[in-house]
């Protein structure tokens, strides 16, 4: 079954900025799907339209077969959203935030209390349930948003940069949790700037750039296209000159560190054979960049140069609905 179907979706903001130029996308039920793209590519606009925060200019979106316009409430009932920025009432308690969201989805009080407890325990927040949310750390606030998004057990969970700004320990625990949620049958769409995250979690991927889908495939096929690996070699002894290694491109970043680009056709065995012949001892080796990151940059660069031979100044997408002046908190 198709969890999400997007057809010819377009969005032009009032200031003339064309955020989406007609995208088509399908995400199958049960998938863990990555939606990637550089800043301003149209990811957040697409997610905003799917989650009813942004109005589409044209095109259609259906969620588990429910058209977002014609069967709005059924479609919305299937979605849980974890937005990029903290957007809950910072004066509410952690439990109050999650309970209220359950109420908005029409969940009876008894069930809402059970689900809230379950989600907060999953997020390791049960001890903080009576804390005022503004006093939580950044990582905890993100987990509150995940608990809130999951309280009504959505079939489709949209995670818009859920691990931005959280430390590595929390990030790893969130990855584990996301995997578990997906294994339990929830379809997940993830946007992230941590491409390592997308590579390790997602099975399928779409890359969006300048309002268009420039790639839509499965992760394995995409990674298979990478025919050059980049490594950093730490050497035991300093080198005075850059060694010549057949079939590889070598750069010396310091006297004991080499950057080496190795085509798949050459491979690591051949690289190390050549290094041994030249009596170069390697202490350690690491990937220079994440594999997906390399592909991502290649794709974006090639599409950008095709679309924009000369640099242009284009209008920016508008900021979220403008609110000027100093905040006064909860009002009066």
């Amino acid at each position: 079954m198709t969890a999400l179907s997007i057809s010819n979706l377009k969005k032009t903001y009032k200031n003339g900025f064309v955020a989406l130029k007609g995208i088509d996308l399908e995400v199958q039920a049960g998938d863990f799907f990555a939606l990637l793209g550089p800043n301003g590519a149209g990811k957040s606009t697409a997610i905003g339209i799917i989650s009813s925060l942004v109005t589409a200019s044209s095109g259609s979106v259906s969620i588990f077969g429910h058209d977002l316009v014609k069967e709005r409430e059924q479609a919305k009932s299937c979605i849980g959203l974890v937005p990029q920025e903290v957007n809950f009432n910072q004066f509410d308690t952690v439990q109050g935030i999650v309970l209220n969201q359950a109420g908005y989805y029409g969940m009876p009080r008894k069930l809402a209390l059970q689900r809230t407890e379950l989600c907060l325990k999953q997020m390791d927040l049960w001890d903080k349930r009576n804390s005022i949310s503004r006093r939580l750390s950044g990582g905890m606030k993100r987990r509150v948003m995940i608990a809130r998004a999951m309280v009504h057990a959505p079939k489709l969970l949209i995670l818009d940069e859920p691990t931005a700004g959280v430390d590595i320990e929390i990030r790893r625990s969130m990855w584990k949790l996301m995997k578990e949620v997906n294994q339990q049958g929830t379809t997940i769409i993830l946007t992230t700037h941590y491409l390592e995250e997308a590579e390790s979690l997602c099975r399928n991927i779409a890359i969006i750039d300048q309002g268009k889908i420039v790639e839509n495939t499965d992760m394995a096929s995409l990674l298979a296209r990478l025919n050059v690996d980049h490594f950093v070699l730490d050497l035991a002894e300093p080198l005075a000159v850059v060694p010549v290694l057949e079939g590889c491109h070598v750069e010396r970043t310091s006297d004991k560190v080499l950057d080496v680009s190795v085509p798949k056709a050459v491979g690591l065995n051949q690289l190390f054979s050549q290094l041994s012949v030249k009596n170069i001892k390697v202490l350690s080796l690491k990937n220079k960049s994440n594999r997906l990151e390399q592909l991502f940059m290649d794709l974006i660069d090639s599409k950008s140069s095709q679309n924009n031979p000369t640099p242009q100044i284009t209008p920016s997408p508008p900021a979220p609905q403008g609110h000027k002046g100093e905040g006064k908190g909860e009002g009066y």
């Binding site: 009932s77 908005y104 609905q321 002046g325 908190g329």
Partner: protein, 254 residues
């Protein structure tokens, strides 16, 4: 889909919000109106005498109660909904399957509850200064509820259109307060002369205050039916306008 749960959730959240910050929401009107009763009613009122057969203290009590209902129902909704926009937690409601009429009814109910609660607080304080027997309780309560509804809707529209905290204080300070003071809280239309008597008839708050005063002490300068029709008409108009703006996503969606 059970909308009553979503509606109850919004109403509970709204009522809990203003009760939680009661020193900002309930205490100030109690102190301000006690001063009104003391200064205008007791000290100055004794020298004014009676208006339409009622003592000056009795005459100003209904106006001051309704003025409090008006300002607090308005400020509750404008402040709460604008804060919801400002903190972007309106997105919690927009993502969820909550119809626009439920969002509107929930926020308006919060305004009505606060307006009426403040009205009750002010009425209790007035009992320390005046000995009023409410002549038409049903009519009095109906005017209070309808007026609170009307100004909650007005506050909602202000919040939707506001782009800064300045925008939510302009209407209360420069429109509501002058219209309330000029709406016959402290005087009768008969006390005005010439053009002023005609001008004041164009102030809708004057009709509400007089209808409320009629309910409490049986004294009015306007036709009660006309006052009800006017309040009901404004409610329908503002509710329709609010729903259209919510449908369009004005101020809350890109």
């Amino acid at each position: 889909m059970n909308y009553s749960i979503a509606l109850k959730t919004i109403i509970k959240k709204e009522v809990y919000r203003f009760l939680r910050i009661w020193p900002q929401t309930l205490l100030p009107p109690a102190i301000t109106t006690a001063l009104y009763f003391l200064i205008f009613g007791k000290l100055i009122g004794n020298r004014i005498g009676t208006i339409s057969g009622a003592s000056y203290m009795d005459y100003i009590v209904p106006g001051i109660i309704l003025m409090s209902v008006i300002s607090h129902s308005y400020s509750n909704v404008v402040s709460s909904f604008y804060s919801t926009k400002f903190q972007r937690n309106i997105e919690e409601l927009l993502v969820a399957p909550v119809p626009n009429w439920v969002i509107l009814t929930g926020y308006i109910s919060g305004g009505i509850f606060r307006g009426l609660l403040v009205g009750i607080v002010v009425a209790l304080i007035s009992m320390l200064f005046a000995d009023i027997v409410v002549l038409h309780p049903g009519l009095t309560i109906a005017v209070a509820i309808l007026t609170a509804t009307l100004f909650s809707l007005a506050g909602f529209i202000n919040a939707i259109l506001a782009e800064s905290f300045d925008d939510i204080s302009i209407i209360p300070n420069f429109v509501l307060t002058p219209l309330s003071y000029l709406g016959g809280v402290f005087y009768s239309v008969d006390m005005l002369t010439g053009i002023w008597q005609t001008l004041i008839m164009g102030n809708p708050i004057m009709y509400m205050i007089n209808a409320f005063r009629y309910g409490m002490i049986g004294v009015t300068d306007v036709d009660i039916q006309l006052a009800f029709m006017m309040i009901a008409g404004f409610i329908v108009l503002l509710a329709g306008f609010s729903l259209v703006m919510l449908h369009r996503g004005t101020g809350i969606k890109n």
